[in-house]
Structure formats: C-alpha cells, structure tokens
Amino acid sequence: MIAEYWTFIVIVIAGFLATDIWRWLGVFTGNRLDEDSEALYWVRAVATALVMAVTAKLIVFPNGTLAGSPLWLRLGAAGIGFAVFLATGRKVWIGVAVPMALLVAGLWWGGF
C-alpha cells in the first residue's frame, strides 16, 4: 500500500513542501514591505540577481543536446543578440529572435 504511493509521498514532502515553504516565507516577508521601502529595493535586487544567475547558467552550462555545442557560439549568440536588442529600442521579440537565429545558424554551420 505505502510502497505503491511512495513516489507521491516523496513528491509531496521533498518537492511540494521543500519548495512552497520558501514561497510562504516570501508572502509573510513581502506582506510587511511597503512598495517604496528601502528593504524592497534590496529584495528586488536580490530576486533579480538570483533569476539572472539561473538564466546565465542556462547559457553557460546548458543541459541536454545544447551541452555539446561550443560555448563561444552560445555566448556569442546571446551577447550579440542582447547588443542588437539594446541598440534597436529594446523590443523583447528582437531580443529573442536575433539570438535564436544566430544559434540556429551556428549549429547548422557547425554541422549539428
């Protein structure tokens, strides 16, 4: 009986609870912050740096098939794409389309 549902119990305890306790803590913390407080400035900075650290790691250390592609290609595609995005008035679709096109072109040229 227990063995049948064991995976679900692991998901509830080591997945759901392990993640949502931090979300709940965020609610209690955020609920006490004023929208223009110094503390919120700091929390925003920490949240942004965290998300960008995750993001940059996805480019530098990707999982799966992309892990076999050269680092310079991924950095170049993301970097040049971001520069074009900044230079052309910061439209999000340009910031997505240019790096994707560069990556596909690079993979194709490199014989992937």
Binding site: V46, I94, M100
Partner: protein, 249 residues
C-alpha cells in the same frame, strides 16, 4: 489597460490575466515543459507521477533536481535538502511581487495560495504587467494568468509525456535556448529602476562564475551577494544624486 479603468469587474480582469497564456513567455515555458516530460519519462517516472509533480512543485529547476535525486536512489531527506536549497530563491521572488500585488484588504490566505503559482515565468509576467492593472484587481488578474498557466503546463506533461522522444534531439536543444534569451530581454526591458539593471549585470556575471567555485550554493550566493552589491551601489548613486541636487539649491 490603464490604471484608471477600474469600471471593469473582477471576472473580466481574471480573463485578461488568462489571455497572458498566449504571450511569448507562456509559450516559451510550455515548450520547456515539453522537455521536462521527456526527461521524466527517461528517468522512470510514470505519467501520473510526472503530472502530479508538475502541479505540486511548479518550478522546473526543483522538478529536474527532484527527478535527478530520486533516480540516483537518494533517500527522502537527501531529496528534500537538494530541492529546498534550489528553492530558497522563491522567498525574495515572492516577497518582491507581493507588495505590488496586494491591497490593504487582500487576505493572507489568498496570497499564500497565489504564491504557489509564482515561478520564474509568472514572476517576470508580474513585474512586467501588474503596474498596468488597477490595484484592487491585481490579485485576481495574476490568478487568471498563474493558475491557467500551471494547469496548462500540467496538461502539457500529461499529453507530451511519451511523444517528445520522437523529436530530433537538436530541436529540444534549440528550444532550450529560448528560455534564457527571453529572460535576458524581458527582465532588462521591464527594469524601471537602475538597481534592477545593476542587479541584472551582477547576476549574469556571478552566476556562472560562482558555479565553478561553489556549485551547490552558486545561485544563492550570486543572488544574495550580487543583489546586495547592486543595492549598495544604487544607494550610493541615489545619495550622490540627492547631494548633487542639494548643492545646486
């Protein structure tokens, strides 16, 4: 969608939030979830387990870590530790959105429920669009987006669980790249305060660097360290600006 148009009722704001499902970030996330379903299948999870995990955790990095530790035969305490370390980032993410989302009367139980639907994609959605919604409708507007996105994502796992393995692997690789480049552009474009841009640069530089130094705590260190440095740099900048204005008077 101007903050003045609060003649619309709550339900219509729920549907406006729901429509966010057709936005670029939501579609990008749904494609990464297709990748997760393939990973879950390869790691030996049943369809029901993968679906349940997607809904119960709703944070792709935590899901990938849990599947990985479970597959390696780790016990439940080790799984809990690995997942919880990766999820600490939820606290500042949720805490930075809550002050913009609530009114004085928003009940805490509602915020606790809504917090489950905050992950990176809906966090970006919240910091980008909440400011265009009248304050009293922001929670219901976010619910419209967040709940719909989670349910759709869960449905995607159910449907794609055994389909993806038929795709050529390079397709998954290219799709994988969508997520980071989308975050790069959208987070920078949504940054109204210089502190966010400084923190952006700190995170990009420190994330991969610290991954080489402290692989277990890299994201946490990059976030706390980089965020604090960004805050201090911005604080000095603001004080100089204030002092400069004082001199001129």
């Amino acid at each position: 969608m101007s903050p003045d148009s609060d003649d619309r009722n709550a339900l219509s704001w729920f549907f406006t939030g729901m429509r966010g499902l057709l936005s670029l970030p939501a579609l990008i996330l749904l494609t990464s979830i297709v990748g997760f379903s393939a990973f879950a299948l390869e790691s030996g999870l049943t369809r029901a387990e993968a679906v349940f995990m997607s809904f119960a955790i709703w944070a792709l990095p935590a899901q990938v870590i849990l599947v990985g530790t479970m597959a390696s035969g780790a016990n439940i305490a080790a799984c809990f530790l690995a997942v919880t370390l990766s999820s600490i980032r939820m606290t500042p993410m949720v805490a930075s959105v809550i002050p913009e989302m609530r009114t004085r009367r928003t009940p805490i139980w509602l915020l606790l429920i809504l917090s489950h639907f905050i992950a990176i994609t809906s966090w970006v959605f919240a910091i980008t669009t909440l400011r265009n919604v009248p304050r009293e409708h922001r929670a219901i507007y976010f619910a419209g987006f967040g709940v719909t996105l989670t349910l759709t994502g869960t449905l995607v796992v159910a449907v794609f669980y055994d389909i993806v393995s038929a795709f050529p692997p390079v397709v998954a690789g290219v799709l994988f790249f969508l997520t980071p480049v989308y975050f790069n552009a959208s987070i920078w474009a949504s940054a109204r305060q210089p502190v966010v841009k400084i923190a952006f640069v700190m995170g990009v530089v420190l994330g991969p660097t610290l991954a080489l130094v402290t692989p277990k705590f890299d994201v946490l260190c990059a976030g706390l360290g980089g965020g604090t440095i960004a805050y201090l740099v911005d604080r000095i900048r603001r004080e100089r600006l204030r002092a400069g204005k004082g001199d001129r008077r």
